[in-house]
Structure formats: C-alpha cells, structure tokens
C-alpha cells in the first residue's frame, strides 16, 4: 500500500487488486510484484523487488528512481517479460507481461544500446521493422523518417561499431520508436549523451508525451527526471519508498516562503513582522520547494537508518538552511 506525501493530493498508486477489469487508461499495472532470486535448492539469494504496487496511466511520463540495486531495472525487465515475477503480477495494457503480443505496442530503449554492431543504421531499423511484421513500403518510409528524426542521416550506411556512444543512443531510440509505440520504456535515456544531446532527448520525451504516449523511464540523473517526469517512484533495496507527482513530492508543506520586492534596506530587517505595515508588494506566499536531489538523498539516508520503514520524506523536504 502506497500513501502520498501530501494531504491534499489524492493517492494515485493504490491498486484495487480484486478488480481485474482492464481500464484502458491504465497502461502499466503491477500487483504485489516481487522478484526473488533463488539458488537451485530454493534458498533466497536476493530480494530484488518487494511487493511493488504501481499504476501508470496513459499519457504520463513516469520516472523510476533509486540507487544501484534498488530494483528499478528489475521492474522494467519484469514489465518487458525479460524476467518472470516470483510473486504478484505485472500487467501491460491489461495483458500479462509474458504475453508476446503486448510488445506490439511497446518501445524499449535499454540502458546500453544493445544493438548488432555489424549492421548499419538502416539495416538495424529495417531488421526491427521486420520484427513488427511491417510491410516493406511502410518499413522503408518509417526507417527514413526515424533516421532523419534522430539526426543520423549522414551516418545511415555506417556499421554501428563505428558509432560514438551518443550516436548509438540515438539509433537505440529510433529502434524503440520504429513501431510508433504507445508505451515507451527508457532505461537511462540520457546516459552517454552530451548536454546538447541530453536536451534533445528530454525534448523528445516531452514531445512523445504531447503525442499522447506513455513514457516510463528510469534514471540516475535526478535533474533529468525532475525536468521531464510527471510522476516518480523512488525505490530502495527493492522497496517502494515514494510515489507521487514531482511537484507535490518536492513541496515543503510545513513552512512558508515569502518573496517580495521594492523594499528599502531598513525595511528588510523588520520584514517578517511588519511587511504589510510598510506597504511592500507581496509577490508570493507559498511553501518552499526542495530539489529532487535533496529529496532522494534524504530518502536514502532515512532508509539506511530505519530499514524496512516507509520514508516520511520530512527530512528531505526541509529546505536547505543558509
């Protein structure tokens, strides 16, 4: 069971486990999703993911955050059917994750672009297009369009082994989009990209959202997540620690921040008691915001101090004192 951090925001992560009916607005749904690695004798080796309940709705950008070994890649792999759950289940478009047919509506960009290095960009996209049973004419058009879109026209006939990491990420993204998917799973989408490439990737993600597509991404780069994600889930050692809208998660609810302008220097000393008395314009009175980095590190710190407990996030949301 997941609770939200703010009282005002309704809980979005709750799943009705007893209701198996498919809601077309729910793209991804996990129910008590658990992954335990065992040895041959059935003894538990690692609990990679523990009873994860998630619901990702159509048209949102969802971020999975967590340190190494937190279970975010495991979650993605479970959603893709690359791993089988030990308990619970993962549903994508209402279908079990092990169903092959769900892949027709999915695009996946792996952490490293695991592509065939001996193929050229054109051959790569043509190959993946064939895997979607696309007719030759459509495939040809789509390949040309995507190569243009990711800016690799100049290198379309070069083998991928000659590509830089940035170029490989781009062709990786192109293969993820070959079938014009409804759900795109991005594993560390900005890794290996220069600032310009990172910006382009983020713009691309936002553009995909604007086209009505659902994006699930996991990343270590918190600024990227903060920039593009609508909602995030923070995982730590397989447990879900936080889930909610980025705006709400970063809001510090028990403090007030006042911003003003046009005050004299003398008036600034007495501002907290007499701001109105001195006739200054109140620009905003609001709760201050933390950064995602503060929130993330606070959750990790708290989880280390109190293992097994759900994070309150209170410490993390306190703004930095000067």
């Amino acid at each position: 069971m997941v609770s939200e951090t703010t009282a005002k925001e309704p809980k979005t992560g709750r799943l009705e486990q007893t209701n198996p009916d498919y809601d077309p607005n729910v793209v991804v749904e996990t129910q008590n999703l658990t992954k335990i690695y065992r040895d041959f004798w059935g003894r538990q080796k690692v609990r990679a993911l523990n009873a994860l309940d998630l619901e990702i709705r159509k048209g949102e950008i969802f971020g999975l955050l967590g340190p190494n070994g937190s279970g975010k890649s495991t979650t993605i792999k479970l959603l893709l059917g690359l791993l089988f759950p030990t308990q619970g289940r993962a549903l994508v478009f209402g279908q079990d994750a092990s169903e092959v047919t769900k892949n027709e509506r999915i695009g996946y960009l792996p952490e490293e672009s695991y592509l065939y290095k001996y193929l050229t960009a054109e051959e790569t996209l043509d190959f993946y297009g064939r895997l979607f049973d696309m007719p030759a004419k459509i495939r040809k058009e789509r390949v040309a369009e995507l190569i243009e879109q990711v800016g690799l026209t100049f290198a379309k006939r070069r083998q991928l082994k000659e590509y830089s990491k940035g170029m490989t990420r781009r062709i990786g993204l192109a293969q993820a989009l070959i079938n014009d998917p409804e759900l795109i799973l991005l594993d560390e989408p900005t890794s290996g990209l220069d600032p310009m490439g990172t910006r382009e990737m983020k713009d691309m993600i936002l553009k995909l959202r604007d086209q009505g597509k659902t994006v699930v991404m996991c990343s270590h780069l918190l600024a990227d997540v903060q920039d593009v994600c609508d909602r995030i889930a923070i995982l730590y050692q397989g447990d879900l620690k936080e889930l909610g809208r980025v705006d709400n998660l970063l809001q510090v609810s028990d403090e007030t921040q006042i911003r003003s302008s046009g005050l004299t220097a003398a008036a600034q000393d007495e501002i907290r008691e007499v701001i109105k008395k001195h006739g200054g314009n109140v620009v905003s009175v609001e709760n201050p915001r933390s950064t995602l980095e503060d929130l993330f590190l606070g959750i990790v710190r708290e989880s280390q101090e109190r293992p097994g407990h759900r994070s309150s996030g209170a410490d993390a949301k306190k703004p930095k004192t000067e």
């Binding site: 690359l82 490293e112 001996y118 064939r130 979607f132 293969q175």
Partner: protein, 665 residues
C-alpha cells in the same frame, strides 16, 4: 561396395513415422526437462514447475502464430552475422587452401585414383562444413544473450519459435550456399585432377608403332596374358603416373552377327565370303586403375592415325538392380540362414562351398531372387550386365595365378510350385576377380531347358530371360555356386546385381552432397537448440559429442549390448579392479544380481540415448560416389525426412528451453 541396409521407402516410412514421433516426443520431454532444470536454478523447484506449465499452455498459440516475415528477418540477421564475422570466409579459405595443396599429395598412380580424389574432397568438405555449422550455431544465441542484444529482439513481438526457426533457417541457407560452392569446386577439382591424355610410344601414332605379340601368348611389354584375339601391342606414354597397353585385335564374327557397338576404334574390316565371316581390326586400350581411354582411328588401313580420348570409367554412376533376398543352401542342399562360416568374414559375406574330394558334387549355393524383373528396368535389354564382387576363401593355394571358378544359373519361379514347369538355364561358368567388380554380360536369350515338376525334360533350347524365365510374376532366381573343390566363394546380397545402366555422373556427384547437407542441417539445428539453454562453449562441446556419436552410432549401439563376455559397464569395471577373467562368472549372490540388473538398466538407457543422436551412416552417401554407384532417390528422400524430423524435434527442444528461461539476469 558394402551395403548392409537395403532401404525401401514404402517399408521404411512406417518405422520412420514412429521414429519421428519418438524424436518429437523425446525433444518435448527433454526441452521441458531442461527448461525445468534451468528454471529451477533461477526460481527454485516449485516456482519452476509453475513456469514450465505456463509455457506448455502457450506452446500451441506460439507455433500457430509464427510469422514467416519475422522468421525470415532473424534468418537474414543470422546470415549477415556469419558473413560479417568472416566465418564463411575463413571456412572457404581453409577449403581452398586444402584443395590447392592437397592436389600435390594425390596419388594418380594408385589402383583407383578416383576413389582417393573423391574421398579427399568429400571428407574435407564434410569436416569443414560440419565444423562451421557447429561453430556458427553454437555461438550465435549465447553471444546475443551475453551481449544483451537479445533484449532488443525479445521485447519486440517475437516468439521463441521464430528465434529458433529463424536461426536454423539462416544458418542452414548459409551452409547450403557454401556447400553448393564447395561441391562445384570439388567436382572441378576431381575432374581436372583425373583428366589426362596419352600418346602411343613410338615414332608414329599409327600401327607402325605396334609390335607383334610374342609366341608364348604373353605381352612383350608387361609379360602378362593378353586378350585372346590380340595380335599386336603397343604402349602409351606415361601420364598421371601410369601408362596403358594397346592391343590390336582381330575380331572375327559371322557375317550375320551385329557389328561392334564401338565403331571409332575400327581400323578396317575384311569379309571372307567363303567362311561367311567378317574380321574387324580394332585397337583397344587396356584399363588401368579403373579407367580406360576411347580409341579413335582417323583414316583406314595401316597408315590410319590412332589417338586416345579422355579417361573413361572414373566417373560412373552405376544403377544396380539388387535381389530382394538371398538364400544360402548347404552342401546337402538344405536351406541355411547364412553361408559357410570361414572365420571373421562371416559378418558380411556368406560362403558357398565348392565341395571336396570325397563329395565332389556340392549342392551348396547362394540363391538370389529378383523381383519385378522386366525389360523396362534396363537401358539395354538385349545384353544384361551382371556385376559381381565376390570374396574367395581358398583352403589350398594351388596355382595362385589360377582364378577360382564360379557358376551362375537362372531358374524361373513358378507361380504354383510343384505344378507349373520350371525354366532352368545352363550353368554359365566364370573366373572370379577376387574382391573387385567383374562384369558378366548375360544375353537376354539364354540356353536352357523347361522341366516339369517331376524332373521330366519338356523342352530344350533358347529361352527369353524376361518373357519365359521371369514370366508373369516377373521373378527370377539366380544361383551362384563354386565350381572348384575345396574352395569357397563369398557373397553378400549387395555383391551381385544387374547393372541397369548408368546415371549422369555429375548429378550423382551432387546427390552425394545431399547427405553432407543433411548432416550439416542436423548439426546446425542441434547447435541452435542446445544454445538456448547452454553457454557457447558447452553447446559446442555437446554438438561435437553428438557429431561423434552420430558417426559411430552403430558401434556405440553395439557397445550397449551385454551379449558379450565380461558383462555391462559395472560388471566390467569390477572385473578390471578384481582382475577377474572375462570367462569366469561372478560369484552368485544378491550383489551380483544387483550389479547385473543395474548394468541392464544403464545399458538400456545408453542404448536409448544413442537413438537421440542422428545415425550419420544413413545420411552418408560417400561410398556410392567412391565406388561409382548411383544414389537411389529413395535413400535421399529418407535422409531428407530424417533431417526434417530432427529439425522439428530440435526446434521443439529449443523452443521449450528458450521459453522457460529468463532472458535477463
């Protein structure tokens, strides 16, 4: 050529379907078992059970929804992979280098140089193609899993069936292309390596270079017996390590007799009206090392220019008509299961007894029954070549130069035995060419008699082998007897046959490669199937073991029988450790009973396991090419069906193993 299995498609197909069912069932069981094993490592035994049962439920939809376009996409990828990783280039490079330098070591001077050449190219091609098939199929999928490139494939709507079938198809097509190229190059290599020409040694290429045969009837050049009608002889130049003897023959026949079939070697003909004969002066080239040369005479008379054409006889594809069964009779004329046992040769050939000094008239014989004996089976139905490769067992050396004599006799097979009269031909005597193919031309019109069931002579004269002897039931009996006392003639069913004619050699040559193709496809399918659950190195090792088992399947099956002294594996081990003689029984007791029963169980399992590996001897046609026999289409059909059965079985194994495993770690 040794042929132990006379496969007939209609007889085979029943057992073949059973074998196919067994292979498929075994593959499913193995696939599920290995899948369970792999899943157990990852999830534990209980969870693995759930995973495996789920996969079984998905199997039928997966097979039904397999997309040809996706299969082809994966096949194309497999081809590109092998090409760009230069596997094909390296294999072809080794092949080309081997041929380039291999030619240096071919001995054209041997008795049968064509056998050396053909064996060399066949074995070389087979070895390289099988190794290549093993390597590309073993490494492909494990490399994809190791490099995680498989992630981008299985996250598309690709089914496990498509991954397995696509790879088998891709590598199969690639191997087929390479094999076809190798076959063409091999054919050219053999053809070029064996083609040679000779010239007559002497000042002129005419009869002037011929010398008279010495009065003793032996060749002045070789000191061996020459042909009966030879009057002069000459020698050819030594090319490709050998030379031929040329003989000028005075071929005299009745005026009414047909002219010689071969006209190119006739120098002239003289008609003797008084005697009613015509004499042809012909030049013949004596065969050496399984080949001869056609003689061409340009002009007429003593000044005619004589030249020799290219080698003839190396490239044959003889079409044999084998008997349907072989029955031996002992000295007293009783039926026996095998011929006389003369020692180790028992296994293949049975021996016919020639009698001894006390009982000179031996009734020992080998009786061959030919079915469907009709003229349409023969290219030339006037003269039927009977070919034999007989073994000889001599109880005394005597005149070693003198060959052992055998006898051939034909009898009809009456429809109503004991009622209908029987045609019996005169015995045709012949001298045996021990252990080499000899041809006995049998005229369709044969002298014999018609005898009633009670032995009464009804008619004597010339009868037709097809119309009278074979008659309506189209059956013919041929009996082989040994005509020399104290000697034995050894024969097996494949040793005596009618030669129906010859097939196109090049077509037969390429047919021979279908056997290698079948082996290669099975190896590829095996490599792909094993690589779905094993690492590359282990897959390669496993495939290699399967190749070895495949080539030695009959031997291994022989080993898994406990009908020899010393018992099964455990008993043998105990005997080795305790240094107990093989002939002495182990002490009776419960321990021995346990050992014997465990041995039986182990041996039964081992024997069953040998059937999981393909028996490559049924897919190997190299002997047919080496010995110059046409490969029966039925054999090819059977080999292709066996290959298909293994491909289906191994696809199932690969599917279940891949489906039950987690691709990611």
């Amino acid at each position: 050529m040794v042929v132990e299995d006379f496969i007939n498609f209609s007889d085979w197909i029943g057992g073949g379907i059973l074998l196919f069912g067994t292979i498929v069932l075994a593959a499913i069981i193995l696939g599920v078992f290995f899948g369970y094993l792999v899943a157990s490592f990852r999830h534990g035994p209980f969870e693995a059970f759930y995973v495996v049962s789920k996969v079984i439920g998905q199997a039928i939809p997966d097979f039904l929804n397999t997309s040809p376009r996706r299969v082809w996409a994966i096949a194309r990828l497999a081809i590109k992979e092998a090409f760009r990783r230069k596997v094909i280039l390296v294999t072809f490079g080794i092949f080309a280098t081997t041929l380039l330098f291999g030619g240096w070591f071919m001995n054209s001077n041997s008795e049968h140089p064509e056998r050396i050449y053909i064996n060399f190219v066949l074995w070389g091609t087979q070895l390289l193609v099988l190794l290549m098939g093993m390597l590309i199929s073993s490494f492909s999928l494990p490399e994809d899993i190791k490099n995680k490139t498989i992630y981008t494939v299985v996250t598309k709507p690709v089914r496990s069936t498509e991954i397995v079938i696509g790879r088998i198809l891709g590598f199969g097509l690639l191997g087929t292309g390479l094999l076809a190229l190798m076959a063409i190059i091999s054919f050219l290599f053999v053809w070029r390596g064996l083609s040679h020409e000779h010239q007559i040694v002497g000042d002129t290429q005419t009869l002037a270079s011929f010398a008279p045969i010495p009065a003793d009837g032996l060749s002045g050049i070789t000191r061996r017996r020459v042909s009966e009608d030879a009057v002069k002889e000459a020698k050819t130049s030594t090319d490709s390590g050998h030379s031929h003897l040329l003989e000028l023959i005075h071929d005299t026949r009745d005026v009414s007799a047909p002219e010689p079939q071969l006209q190119t070697n006739i120098i002239d003909k003289t008609v003797d009206q008084a005697a009613g004969t015509v004499t042809y002066r012909r030049v013949v080239c004596k065969p050496v090392g399984g080949h001869t040369h056609q003689v061409f005479v340009d002009g007429e008379g003593d000044d005619a220019r004589i030249s020799l054409g290219p080698a003839v006889g190396y490239f044959r594809a003889r079409v044999p008509i084998y008997s349907s069964y072989l029955q031996f009779y002992d000295r007293l004329g009783n039926k026996t299961q095998k011929g006389v046992n003369v020692g180790k040769e028992w296994a293949y050939r049975g021996y016919v007894d020639g009698g001894n000094a006390r009982e000179r008239t031996s009734l020992s014989k080998a009786e061959f029954q030919f079915e469907n004996f009709v003229p349409s089976n023969f290219r030339n139905d006037k003269i039927l070549p009977l070919e034999m490769t007989l073994g000889v067992f001599r109880t005394h050396k005597g005149d070693i130069e003198k060959r052992v004599t055998g006898g051939i006799q034909f009898t009809s097979v009456p429809e109503n035995e004991g009622v209908d009269p029987v045609f019996i031909s005169d015995i045709i005597d012949f001298e045996t060419n021990e252990y080499s193919v000899q041809t006995l031309p049998i005229s369709r019109k044969i002298v014999g008699k018609l005898v009633s069931p009670d032995g009464k002579l009804l008619e004597k004269g010339e009868f037709d082998l097809f119309e009278d002897f074979a008659g309506k039931n189209q059956r013919l009996h041929l009996t082989l007897s040994c005509r020399d006392i104290n000697q034995y003639l050894g024969v097996a069913r494949a040793d005596l046959y009618f030669r129906a004619g010859d097939n196109l050699y090049w077509a037969n040559f390429f047919k021979g490669y279908i056997g290698i193709w079948c082996q290669m496809i099975i190896i590829i399918a095996m490599g792909v199937a094993l690589s779905t659950f094993l690492s590359a190195a282990i897959t390669m090792l496993g495939t290699l073991v399967m190749i070895l088992i495949g080539f030695s399947a009959p031997f291994i099956r022989e080993l898994t029988k406990i009908d020899h002294d010393g018992g099964g594996p455990i008993e043998s081990f105990i005997r080795v450790v305790t240094q107990k003689n093989m002939m002495i029984d182990l002490d009776t007791g419960y321990l021995t009973t346990i050992i014997e029963n465990v041995d039986k169980l182990v041996v039964a399992i081992l024997n069953a396991l040998t059937y999981l590996a393909p028996n490559f001897s049924t897919l190997n046609f190299s002997n047919y090419l080496t010995y110059g026999y046409a490969i029966d289409n039925q054999r090819i059909l059977i080999a292709v069906l066996i290959t298909l059965a293994f491909c289906v079985g191994l696809t199932l194994l690969g599917y279940f193993a891949l489906k039950t495993r987690e691709i990611a770690k």
